[in-house]
């Protein structure tokens, strides 16, 4: 067994270079996909079913082998590595979680560290730390997966994927089977987690709202595994590449764009009195909703402590 390959390694740059997957002679499932995910960023692959997004994801850890083209992690081609070695250095989270029912939560989290020859003590300490990190009580370590709710299981799935500190994470619709309220909370916590661990993440979803919320960059794929647009959420909402993208992001894309900016990013007018109040961290979309709801024209902006710092009008929000 080799040394601790992925452990304590910083995030890596991930490059798809003309990556193509074709089954037999038919239409390609992924067609000459080229894109670069900068180290430490979240890239969301999104598109309708048949868009090849899951296929593209599985090309990275070679659960599906490339037909042609290449994928490189920090400049190293995935084909130059031993396949199990490669996979141990990549965190993998799937929708059904895939926890091992016969292992305790701690043993599940310790799966890959154990393959790297980590001691029991190391795994124990690490799993305690990770459980806390994903928002679970450390006492969960001794439980079995069947004793956890769906949301809790997916948190464990996340902890298991980052247990050996891999530089790259692959997430295949990880929150797809979870009810909307828990899903929103998991998304928030995943973003918070990402602030701390800074992995290079490839995230597959069919939900454009999730893509906008989580992605540093979004890759929109259409039927046949063709990349239509790869850009930041703001750019995609502001300038969809074509009708397909415009339709996919939805007619309410202007509203969605508002949700990406906070009041603090705008230039504030001098403080006015009266009207509803919101903190600087609130999104423009929430602010607009509040103004419409209250039938008001002007909004009072506060800092996190509640002190008034300025005001904004409806027009300011929509400019």
């Amino acid at each position: 067994m080799s040394g601790p390959v992925g452990v304590e390694r910083a995030a890596a740059e991930l490059v798809f270079d003309q990556a193509t997957k074709r089954y037999g002679e038919g239409e390609p499932a992924v067609d000459q996909l080229s894109l670069t995910v900068p180290a430490g960023e979240i890239c969301v692959l999104v598109g309708p079913s048949g868009g090849g997004k899951t296929t593209a994801l599985k090309l990275v850890n070679r659960l599906i082998e490339l037909t042609s083209g290449d994928i490189r992690i920090d400049g190293t081609s995935i084909n130059s590595l031993d396949v199990t070695e490669l996979r141990r250095g990549i965190g993998y989270v799937i929708q059904q979680v895939g926890l091992f029912p016969h292992m305790t939560i701690e043993a599940n989290i310790g799966t890959v560290p154990r393959l790297f020859g980590r001691s029991k003590q190391w795994i124990h300490t690490r799993s305690q730390e990770l459980l806390e990190l994903v928002g679970l009580d450390p006492s969960y370590a001794k439980r079995y997966p069947a004793q956890l709710s769906g949301g809790e299981r997916q948190r464990v799935g996340l902890a298991r994927a980052i247990a050996a500190n891999p530089p790259v994470m692959l997430m295949d619709e990880p929150f797809g089977a979870i009810d909307p309220i828990v899903r929103a909370r998991l998304q928030d916590e995943f973003l918070r987690l990402q602030q701390e661990v800074r992995k290079t993440v490839v995230f597959v979803t069919h939900d454009i709202d999730e893509a906008i919320k989580l992605g540093d960059r979004i890759a929109i794929l259409r039927q046949g595994g063709v990349l239509v647009q790869y850009d930041t959420p703001e750019a995609i909402l502001a300038r969809p590449a074509d009708d397909f993208v415009a339709q996919f992001v939805g007619a309410d894309r202007a509203l969605k764009a508002l949700a990406l900016r906070t009041l603090g990013e705008l230039e504030l007018r001098p403080a006015a009195d009266g009207g509803p109040r919101l903190p600087r961290a609130a999104t423009l979309r929430d602010a607009l909703a509040l103004l419409i709801d209250e039938r008001a024209q002007t909004l009072v902006v506060t800092d996190d402590a509640g002190t008034v710092v300025g005001s904004l009008t409806r027009d300011d929000l929509l400019r």
Binding site: L63, R88, Q96, P101, H102, V112, L115, Y144
Partner: protein, 238 residues
């Protein structure tokens, strides 16, 4: 052997025992005391030996077949049909069919006993291995476990409850069928029953040997249940 009650004349043979024995009582404790050492205990030990060997060999054989049947799906149906075919042949007939080949030997008995374990062990092993959740397998593969590691650390432990369930049925059935072995060799708990039938149906001996066989089967079953609880604590979680 082959004491044929219907064929032979009835010769009362209770002359020299206690009153209980002379009147062919249901439970003559003095007879049990006198003959535990020379009759029942050796028969019990032989019975355990016969059964253990059969289940052991049957388990190894079924396991090898199950690996083939899971790996090469095309072969699953033929193996299953063959095991079912063996299971269908009556034990007494199978013993006799083997006699021209392997004689009146322990080998004959073991071949027959092993063939009865195959069906249930094979079916349960294959079903257990197939029932391993696909997501757990995908996760194992995605995390970089080798095929061997996946089998030993994920598939086999997850199939364990089904495999042990099969082992329970096979063990109990084998202990039960092993009584018929006395038609071929003078061994096992079937032996005292035959002798008792030959001695004008001596009830105490039939009852004692029969009870031993049943208790042995139930104890073996209980031990396996216990083993399963210890080996698969997770199957009771949730």
């Amino acid at each position: 052997m082959n004491a044929l009650v219907a064929a032979g004349p009835v010769i009362p043979n209770f002359g020299q025992g206690s009153r209980c024995e002379r009147t062919n009582g249901w439970w003559c404790t003095d007879w049990l005391h006198a003959h535990w050492g020379d009759t029942l205990q050796p028969a019990l030990v032989q019975h355990i030996e016969l059964s253990l060997i059969a289940v052991g060999i049957g388990f190894a054989l079924a396991f090898a077949l199950a690996l083939v049947g899971v790996r090469y799906r095309l072969l699953d149906a033929p193996i299953g049909v063959f095991a079912d075919f063996l299971y269908t042949i009556p034990s007494l007939a199978l013993f006799q069919l083997l006699v021209p080949l392997t004689g009146l030997t322990v080998t004959t008995v073991e071949i027959a006993l092993v063939s009865y374990t195959l069906l249930i062990l094979y079916r349960n092993m294959v079903e257990g291995l197939r029932a391993v959740p696909a997501d757990a397998l995908e996760a194992a593969q995605g995390m970089g476990l080798t095929a061997r590691q996946t089998f030993l650390r994920v598939e086999l432990p997850l199939a364990a409850p089904a495999i042990i369930a099969g082992l329970r049925i096979a063990t109990v059935s084998t202990i039960s069928i092993a009584t018929v072995a006395a038609f071929v060799i003078p061994q096992g708990l079937g032996r005292p029953i035959f002798i008792a039938i030959g001695q004008d149906l001596f009830k105490t001996e039939i009852l004692a040997a029969g009870a031993l066989a049943v208790v042995l089967a139930l104890v073996a079953d209980g031990l396996l249940v216990f083993a399963q609880r210890v080996a698969t604590p997770w199957s009771r979680a949730g």
